[in-house]
């Protein structure tokens, strides 16, 4: 992780910085001690009459099938443990039975809010193992798709978080419905390009499967302009709303050192003042052709994470528009089009790790290649490192001391996608 100059988009707070392990972090957020997630409840005040409560797995505001077991003293959380695994589908094991070209449509379903990122992550791993470089047109196309998908994902994240915080009473339902309306425009764009509204299967090993249709770039720029214009509105809904302020300001302040310890990345880390983004620090696809301004805020609370997402959304629109104006001509796939399941062959024992910046943080793929006579070339092991799982591991540290209603806000601000956590 590189130490970079002052963050491009900093918050208005005057912040003093310190350096820990080569990483610049805001002094205000560094706390002396973290709550103990493995607290022995028998040592807790015996008069307190603790109550254990299971939130989930069917709770509507746990963003899926997350179960959080909370121990309550009155309304204050004493201890909180998240349990995952209710959406386990064995995707990684299934990938060991499939050949490389068949894996792309399967991993689409992992992070079901940004499927484009899953495809990109596994295909980049296959390409790295194969030593294939996609042609420039495919690189730019992938970057554009990834950025537009990031906008759609952040729209859902901000919208559902608004719903968590107040529903219809706090004005959250308005943000949610407006965000969904804008997301629909993006789904229409993808439908026109790939034919699928949500599970695209548009990336393949060595490039893309679908080329831009005529006039798509003009439509995309129009949609992006509209979303950027309306994003001011979402920010006003959140920042100018006193209910939102009371519920989110100062809630779940994350110590950047704790966040790094738990492996959190993406908006969670950037909301805590750590200036780290794989798109800029380890550029892949066509990110080296654009200058990315990474939004960083130093408050570290739930509201800061939402505002980082809105800033990122605008930045993504800027980058996508920039790239759409100069898509290079040429082929979209470096390899011959797939006609057989075993079209892509990797050397047995080939090992590679590739990490990309998904909307939730670092989405990694670790691959160990294998081949046998019956199945053909397939992964011996395909490990997916989901950013949401690492974000959820912060939960036991964040919840103690807050009230039960804050737990909903905290989960929403971490933005976990359970399909990706359990795989």
């Amino acid at each position: 992780m590189a130490v970079s100059a002052a963050p491009a988009v900093s918050s208005s707070l005057a912040t003093r910085w310190t350096e820990v392990g080569g990483v610049r972090v805001p002094v205000e957020l560094v706390t002396p001690g973290w709550p103990d997630p493995h607290m022995d409840l028998s040592t807790y005040d015996p008069e307190a009459d603790l109550m254990a409560l299971n939130m989930g797995p069917q709770h509507p505001s746990t963003h899926g099938v997350l179960r959080v077991k909370v121990w309550l003293d009155g309304e204050t959380v004493v201890k909180a443990i998240p349990y995952v695994g209710y959406l386990h589908r064995g995707v990684e094991k299934l990938c060991e039975k499939l050949t490389y070209v068949q894996i792309t449509p399967i991993v689409d379903k992992n992070d079901y809010v940004s499927p484009m990122m899953n495809e990109l992550a596994v295909n980049m791993a296959f390409e790295a193992a194969l030593g294939v470089e996609p042609p420039p047109r495919a690189q730019v196309l992938r970057t554009i798709l990834a950025e537009i998908q990031r906008i759609a994902s952040h729209l859902i994240s901000v919208g559902t978080w608004g719903l968590d915080m107040g529903g219809a009473i706090g004005g959250g339902a308005t943000v949610f419905l407006y965000c969904m309306r804008e997301r629909e425009l993006i789904l229409d764009l993808f439908e026109e390009l790939t034919g699928g509204r949500f599970h695209y299967n548009t990336h393949t090993v060595g490039g893309n499967r679908h080329d831009l249709p005529a006039g798509w770039d003009r439509k995309a720029i129009e949609v992006l302009d509209r979303i950027v214009a309306r994003s001011e509105e979402y920010e006003r809904f959140l920042v100018d709303n006193p209910i939102c302020h009371q519920r989110a300001r100062g809630i779940a302040v994350i110590d950047p050192l704790l966040a790094m310890e738990c492996g959190a990345s993406g908006p969670i880390l950037r909301g805590s003042g750590v200036d780290f983004d794989l798109r800029r620090d380890a550029p892949y696809a066509a990110y080296d052709q654009v200058e990315l301004r990474v939004p960083v805020r130093t408050e570290g609370d739930a509201l800061a994470r939402a505002l980082v997402r809105i800033d990122e959304l605008r930045e993504s629109a800027r980058v996508a528009k920039l790239l759409l104006q100069g898509v290079p001509e040429g082929p979209i796939c470096a390899l011959k089009p797939v006609k057989l399941p075993g079209a892509v062959k990797l050397q047995e024992g080939e090992q590679v790790y590739v990490g990309i910046e998904s909307p939730r943080g670092e989405l990694g793929t670790w691959l160990l290649a294998n081949t046998d006579r019956k199945l053909g070339p397939h992964p011996y092991r395909l490990k997916i490192r989901p950013p949401s799982l690492h974000a959820l591991s912060l939960l036991p540290y964040l919840c103690p001391g807050h009230t039960l209603s804050d737990v909903v806000v905290i989960i929403g601000s971490l933005d976990p996608i359970l399909g990706e956590v359990d795989r």
């Binding site: 499939l98 070209v101 068949q102 894996i103 792309t104 449509p105 399967i106 689409d108 379903k109 042609p135 229409d188 439908e191 026109e192 390009l193 790939t194 034919g195 699928g196 599970h199 299967n201 393949t204 490039g207 893309n208 499967r209 679908h210 080329d211 831009l212 249709p213 005529a214 006039g215 798509w216 770039d217 003009r218 720029i221 898509v327 001509e329 082929p331 979209i332 796939c333 470096a334 390899l335 011959k336 089009p337 797939v338 006609k339 057989l340 399941p341």
Partner: protein
């Protein structure tokens, strides 16, 4: 809160009573137009000579990630229309219950026989209605407009040396 405020509120309600509607009712009959490349359920097509295009080569069966396609190849025989000897498909089933609409079967088809359709939804009251047999697939050919993609167009679009394919492809304006 005075009496005049109450009357003002009544006034607003009364005005809204005669305002034109801003919402539209849910369209029951007509369907919104889908994009050219939209892909949903499947069809098997006839070729230019009027023969069934499928040659029973089982490529789609091999590539399907969900393994939902079962093809039984028939013996080689002469085509009644062209007189040439070619392969035939004896039976073809596609289980739409487990289909993930990945379009790989369309891409690998060497005869451009299987295509996807631009219908929005095709619900059924029975799981058997989602099990597409050969008769249903050939009936689907006339049921709805086919999606843009077929095997040769998808291959041409991805060919490393080739130019962008015809029909909806190509560099856009702006």
């Amino acid at each position: 809160m005075s009496l005049s405020d109450s009357f003002a509120a009544f006034g607003i309600g009364f005005r809204n009573l005669f305002r034109p509607k801003v919402t539209a009712p849910l369209p029951w009959k007509e369907r919104r137009p889908r994009a050219e490349r939209y892909r949903a359920t499947f069809a098997l097509v006839h070729d230019a000579h009027g023969d069934e295009a499928c040659i029973g080569c089982k490529m789609c069966e091999k590539i399907c990630p969900s393994q939902i396609i079962v093809v039984t190849g028939g013996p080689k025989a002469e085509s009644p229309n062209t007189g040439k000897k070619r392969g035939w498909c004896a039976d073809f089933t596609l289980d739409l219950n487990a289909c993930i609409a990945c379009e790989l079967c369309v891409q690998v088809c060497p005869a451009d026989a299987i295509v996807m359709l631009r219908v929005q939804e095709q619900p059924g009251f029975d799981r058997n209605e989602l099990l597409l047999t050969m008769e249903k697939l050939y009936a689907n050919e006339k049921l709805a407009e086919a999606s843009w993609a077929d095997g040769s167009k998808l291959i041409a679009m991805q060919e490393p040396g080739g130019a962008t394919a015809a029909g909806g492809a190509g560099e856009g304006g702006a």
